[in-house]
């Protein structure tokens, strides 16, 4: 299978602490991958290494057949977009302005947004159902709406890969579902490769093609949800006993903490 992301022997240190220990990973193109693990297991650190915000101590990361450090920052932004945990709202932009910022890597120094750029931004707002918000300010909308706007901005970069860091952690269950369904739709319809860190093991199991289970900076297991989310693995990683229940509605099993 063609790899969207290929990671080999990735090691990352904060000062002297090994936060990531020899990570090897292959993310197939067009897959939906969730990274799970307890707090401090290195999920976000791994994600930030992939999007080149953090530089590995050892090992290499290949994005679409090219080493991540070889990319010019604008070229990387055309290949991969990232939705981080908390975008600042100190300065109040219109939703449309925020989404249009996603065109940054495409616009040259002395240019400004063309009609085509605006059309692309509009299309992203349609896909994320945020078009009706476009005249509102980023402060004046709800948390769930804001997260959708951030995804719209990421789509406006026209990436092949979308990374999300805890996209649903501050949202209530309605918006959690809404955001993940949106991601799934983008994954299925637009063939976007999606990698997201998540806390909710059930939602992760339900939406992901593959799950990466991490603990203490290492990958415990990687594979299809039912292969990874076993009683034994969950006990090992989260120190919690669970029951695994099959529900007819869903392909993947549900996990109930005991």
């Amino acid at each position: 299978m063609v790899a969207a992301i290929q990671i080999e022997n990735l090691k990352f240190k904060y000062d002297e602490d090994d936060v990531l220990k020899y990570i090897n990973l292959h993310v197939p193109k067009g897959s939906f991958v969730s990274i799970l693990g307890p707090n401090g297991s290195g999920k976000t650190t791994l994600l930030k290494n992939v999007c080149h915000l953090l530089k590995p101590y050892e090992g290499q990361i290949v994005i679409s057949d090219q080493l991540v450090e070889r990319f010019k920052s604008k070229e990387l932004a055309k290949e991969m977009a990232v939705v981080h945990q908390s975008a600042s709202t100190e300065f109040d932009f219109n939703v449309e302005d925020v989404v249009l910022m996603g065109r940054f890597p495409y616009i040259k120094k002395f240019q400004s947004e063309s009609l085509e750029d605006i059309a692309i931004a509009t299309e992203s707002m349609k896909k994320t159902s945020t078009l009706h918000l476009k005249h509102k300010t980023i402060k004046g909308i709800s948390g769930g709406e804001r997260q959708r706007v951030m995804i719209a901005r990421a789509l406006t970069q026209e990436p092949q890969i979308l990374l999300l860091d805890e996209p649903i952690s501050h949202l209530d269950i309605k918006y959690q579902l809404e955001i993940l369904k949106l991601c799934k739709a983008l994954n299925v319809e637009n063939h976007l490769t999606i990698i997201t860190t998540l806390h909710d093991i059930n939602l992760a199991t339900r939406f992901s093609d593959y799950i990466i289970l991490m603990n203490h900076g290492e990958i415990v297991e990687i594979g299809k949800p039912f292969e990874v989310m076993t009683k034994e693995n969950i006990k090992k990683v989260y120190e919690v006993d669970v029951a695994i229940v099959k529900i007819d509605q869903f392909e993947n099993p549900m996990i109930i903490p005991l």
Binding site: A77, F91, F93, N94, M101, F104, H135
Partner: protein, 347 residues
């Protein structure tokens, strides 16, 4: 209103602000110890544009006041006000802090410190086309930015409390040293006050000629970074992943800002709060997009400082108040208001 329409409107707003600046300036020319009728002002200008109207009935001293005292003063106040304002807007963006301002952060004092050293030690030679005074002012501003920035930075976050404390202490330290140096240099107290609280008393076409080009260059350089600034204020990690070179942009903005501040302070002294008030208010009115915010703030700062300077020279009969006092009277309460509004974010 969609993006394209807004862009059109923004051009209109800039035009309107320019008109307001022209009207304010015309009014300002008529004001002062000698009141000159606005019709005379018009006739002198028309005459200067090579129109053969008769101005022989206007007193020569009035023509001199209009052309060589008040007009240069207004032009200089406009340029300095505009510069202080766009630097304030840029600082607020890269520090992601609505309370950042060249005066509050001590950067203006840094520039004044550099300039004072140059004057006190008689370094008036020309260096690379720029005067030594301006060069020293630039180094003073840059040094202060660097010190305040390093003190206020905790990891990648900038603490508002630290930035204000560091700025205030740098400010008071540097103005004290400036005053001390000037006293040792046997300057009189009035001159020290004029310099540390800002004044356009000595404005001349010569001085304007010195600051026009650097100010224009600095403005264009900042404008070229406006889109980067937009991305940065939304979050540095987000900006990096959109292809913005965040660290480089921040450094360049600090250098451009210090450059702009250096030239303004070198001709006018330390004038506070312009860069705090104008960008803040205009961000509410015109939105946060720096491609609009920078130009409107420039004209807003120009209008504000022209009005302040007119008050400074006409408020008390036969005496001139340093313009920094006027801007502080407006800016101080505004600063306190921002402080109370941001209280919960600062603890």
């Amino acid at each position: 209103m969609n993006f394209i329409e807004r862009r059109k409107w923004n051009r209109l707003y800039i035009g309107i602000l320019l008109c307001i600046l022209v009207f304010v300036s015309l009014f300002a020319i008529t004001q002062g110890s000698v009141k000159i009728p606005v019709s005379d002002v018009f006739r002198v200008f028309v005459h200067r544009l090579n129109y053969p109207n008769d101005i022989s009935d206007i007193k020569g001293s009035h023509i001199f006041i209009i052309e060589n005292i008040r007009l240069p003063r207004i032009v200089m106040a406009s340029i300095v006000g505009g510069v202080l304002s766009i630097v304030g807007a840029s600082f607020q963006a890269i520090f992601k802090n609505p309370m950042a301002d060249p005066f509050v952060m001590g950067v203006s004092s840094g520039a004044a410190f550099g300039a004072t050293m140059g004057i006190a030690f008689g370094l008036t030679t020309n260096l690379f086309g720029f005067g030594t005074i301006s060069t020293l002012a630039f180094l003073g501003a840059l040094g202060t930015v660097f010190i305040v920035y390093s003190l206020a930075r905790v990891g990648t976050r900038i603490s508002t409390t630290s930035i204000l404390l560091a700025g205030i202490v740098m400010n008071s330290l540097l103005t004290s040293i400036i005053s001390l140096v000037m006293i040792i240099n046997q300057d009189d107290i009035a001159r020290i006050v004029t310099w540390t609280m800002g004044s356009f008393n000595g404005a001349s076409w010569d001085q304007i000629a010195k600051i026009v080009l650097p100010s224009l260059i600095g403005f264009v350089l900042l404008m070229l970074k406006a889109r980067d600034l937009n991305a940065i204020v939304m979050g540095e990690e987000d900006a990096k992943n959109m292809g913005v070179n965040v660290e480089l942009t921040k450094k360049l903005i600090l250098i451009y800002s210090s450059f702009l501040i250096a030239f303004s302070v070198a001709v006018s002294g330390i004038i506070g709060f312009v860069g705090l008030i104008i960008p803040h208010l205009f961000r509410i009115v015109f939105g946060a997009d720096h491609r609009t915010l920078l130009p409107v703030s420039f004209f807003g700062g120009a209008i504000f400082l022209t009005i302040s300077d007119t008050l400074a020279r006409s408020l008390v009969p036969n005496m001139e108040v340093p313009v920094g006092i006027i801007t502080a009277v407006f800016g101080g309460p505004f600063f306190l208001y921002l402080l109370s509004k941001n209280k919960k974010n600062m603890v």
